[in-house]
Symmetry: C2
Subunit: 438 residues, 2 copies
């Protein structure tokens, strides 16, 4: 297709992101034409409800349609910003079967059923691009998929959910508890009325699956990701982190790990303590940032806005230009790369460090008992800090023991905590928090 015929672009969805995409397609039409080689023409915008006021979207109102299934059959490129599994899946599969390349921001669908989409793209010889699905405006998937294609990614640590970062950041600066801070985030529009997908880590888990798939050339689905949200993070966890000169962040973590059976990958989402000196620690409010460690490149970080209409539209339009250029010159970008096919390890096999706070009796021999518990599970202790406190009930002396371990498997650490909780001298395992980035 080397003539100057416009490429037909169909938009599915006209919410915050979809309308921003439409607006920029119209307002920056000349630049986009110069960059693609031919004009991009909006041939339809599928919406759920007809007749709504959409005067903020500067297109011919006749382009709005509720017939999405029809629209996807008459486009060269379909841009999907609706989200959710159905009907997005059927629409995108149909679009590709009809020869359209697809640009989508749909992390849930990709994490649920990415291989089916990729297979459809391969069968039709079209592109499937989804930069906007992870970390909004931040160019992240293209760097991982292309810039690091000659490198060996070892580890990814990402703040990929703005809502939870906002909540944890506010808990850190105000000392307030979780429930109170979520309410504040809701009032400010940083959290949904039902914040489950964010605070329980579902959103971050889908993104972790997408990142791991690309980085490790292995199929990873959202359901393969160990997931813990931030609902159990307390004000005293945050305070404990502060005492260690750390902050608490919800991280999406994907890393290669060695086991007795060879190399595998660990993919997980959970709160962690990271040192305040770590580049991720200074990521405030609802910003996103992703830290990537590769064997040749070393440590890289990507930082920017993870959500919002215009930022997400930036990522969508970058993909749109790329797939449009391919349509113009008859080529395709990289397809699925799953050749490495590494095993996804059980959570128990992943390696991490623990920060454990114990409430113990203040008498000789207690530290020895505690240390023995760690040793019995081959967990090596990095630091122990002991502080004598007064028992609020009896007024007698008690001690707070804070132990930070070296790296060990999750299974060994978990077993250690169980052993500790059974010790007579340990009144309570006050908190257990994983430590990364140190």
């Amino acid at each position: 297709m080397n003539d100057h015929k416009p490429l037909r672009v169909a938009l599915l969805g006209c919410g915050v992101v979809g309308s921003a995409v439409a607006r920029r397609l119209v307002e920056h039409a000349d630049d986009l034409t110069a960059r693609v080689g031919v004009p991009l023409e909006i041939v339809g915008i599928a919406v759920r409800r007809a007749g709504r006021d959409r005067s903020d979207v500067p297109v011919d109102p006749s382009l709005f349609t509720t017939e999405a299934a029809d629209l996807v059959t008459r486009a060269d490129i379909v841009v999907e910003t609706v989200g959710g599994i159905d009907p997005a899946r059927e629409l995108l599969l149909s679009a590709m079967a009809h020869g359209a390349s697809v640009v989508t921001a749909n992390k849930a669908l990709l994490a649920e059923d990415g291989p089916t989409l990729y297979a459809a793209a391969d069968a039709a010889g079209v592109d499937l691009y989804y930069e906007a699905a992870v970390a909004g405006a931040i160019p992240l998937l293209r760097p991982i998929r292309e810039s690091l294609a000659g490198d060996d990614v070892r580890k990814i640590l990402g703040i990929v959910n703005g809502t939870t970062n906002f909540v944890l950041d506010k808990m850190d600066s105000t000392g307030a508890g979780f429930a109170e801070t979520v309410a504040q985030a809701q009032a400010l529009g940083y959290a949904e009325a039902d914040p489950t997908a964010d605070v329980e880590g579902f959103d971050a888990a889908a993104k972790a699956a997408i990142l791991a798939s690309l980085a490790f050339h292995t199929r990873v689905a959202g359901r393969d990701v160990h997931r813990e949200g931030i609902t159990e993070v307390t004000a005293s966890d945050i305070a404990a982190a502060k005492e260690m000169d750390c902050v608490v962040k919800l991280l999406a973590i994907a890393e290669k790990a060695s086991t007795d059976d060879g190399e595998g990958i660990s993919v997980r989402v959970h709160p962690v303590m990271i040192p305040r000196s770590h580049p991720l620690a200074s990521v405030r409010d609802a910003f996103n940032a992703v830290f990537v460690e590769a064997s040749a490149a070393g440590q890289l970080m990507f930082y920017g806005r993870g959500a919002g209409g215009d930022p997400t539209a930036s990522a969508v339009l970058g993909d749109l230009v790329a797939v449009a250029r391919h349509k113009v010159n008859g080529s395709r970008g990289p397809g699925e790369s799953a050749y490495a096919d590494l095993p996804v390890l059980d959570f128990g096999q992943s390696w991490t460090r623990y920060h454990i706070s114990l409430d113990v009796e203040d008498r000789p021999g207690v530290l020895a008992q505690v240390a023995t518990a760690f040793a019995s599970h081959d967990v090596s202790i990095e630091t122990v800090r002991q502080r004598v406190v007064t028992d609020p009930d009896s007024g007698g002396p008690r001690a707070e023991l804070v132990v930070v371990t070296h790296r060990a498997t999750e299974a060994a650490l978990n077993a250690t905590v169980e052993t500790l909780s059974e010790l007579d001298s340990v009144a309570d395992v006050v908190s257990v928090m994983r430590v990364e980035g140190a």
Copy 2:
């Protein structure tokens, strides 16, 4: 070329970067083959001196050759890590004329004569990729060229020279002067024996030209870049910055600016004060980081290692995989994009803020005189701070006046400084430093 015939890769140069590329090509051959689709075969490594011990490069020693001109005629892809203008230019032009795609880390050549290289690539229908030329391992050019292809880049602020960042960072932490710190950097291997290219800003200017060309779809050469190095930065400049809770960094700056004649671009390299809270302020040692502002994406930052064998090899190999894939499927990546053809503004037309420190007499009316000098050039003052000090010679009272301006043109600010220096009440213009990021 859809069969499984290996692609022939020729390496020009076998220094720190070239040998790292060769090593990784050998050691990661299986992964690279899986990612490209066919094997990458090293067909020769051009070196200046034959017979040197190169046992650290795990290739058949017969591959080393001093016949670079011959080597480039028998490759599908030529990787150049020699640097400098000649003979690199002739070799790469010949390589492309013979049908090879080119991957180069040569910022000097690209900033000197990029359009000639691009024209040769177009004529031959091959790729010209150079991610490694700016900010080493950091995926930066591909994100700007591709991920932000649907956006409108407004401004780039980059720490793109590790040597100068190391020197300024050390001056900040130790309070030492420039000469002493450069000597320390040389002893540690962070600065060359002749540090001119780094400390005078030539290296950063070449990178600024490359970044501006890509971001603004306009040809910008190294010679178009206003350049000031760090040799004039004194310990007292650093101390003055500290007092403002700022740090001094050498930045490559490229931005769109409006003039009476329409939009143009300003590209410059000079030391600036930035607030300690700015993400670039925490970039320590020899790391690089680039801050990008785009109209839809908002603020983005890319961080990582800007130099070194393995980090630079990571960028080279990412490009190598990309151009190899194109060879396999008969396509090409994006070529030169210079359609916007914006005028490169004179330095005097660029907008910035000044931090000016004056030594003045401590008597009534001086502040009014100083303020009038600013007003006479339409420069608006943001803050003034006055401090009475004792004259070291006379023992009489003098005042130090620190003025921070709002944004104004470089020409207006420069004229203001000239007027100030002519005032009777101003004994000395102690320092003038530009301010960014606030």
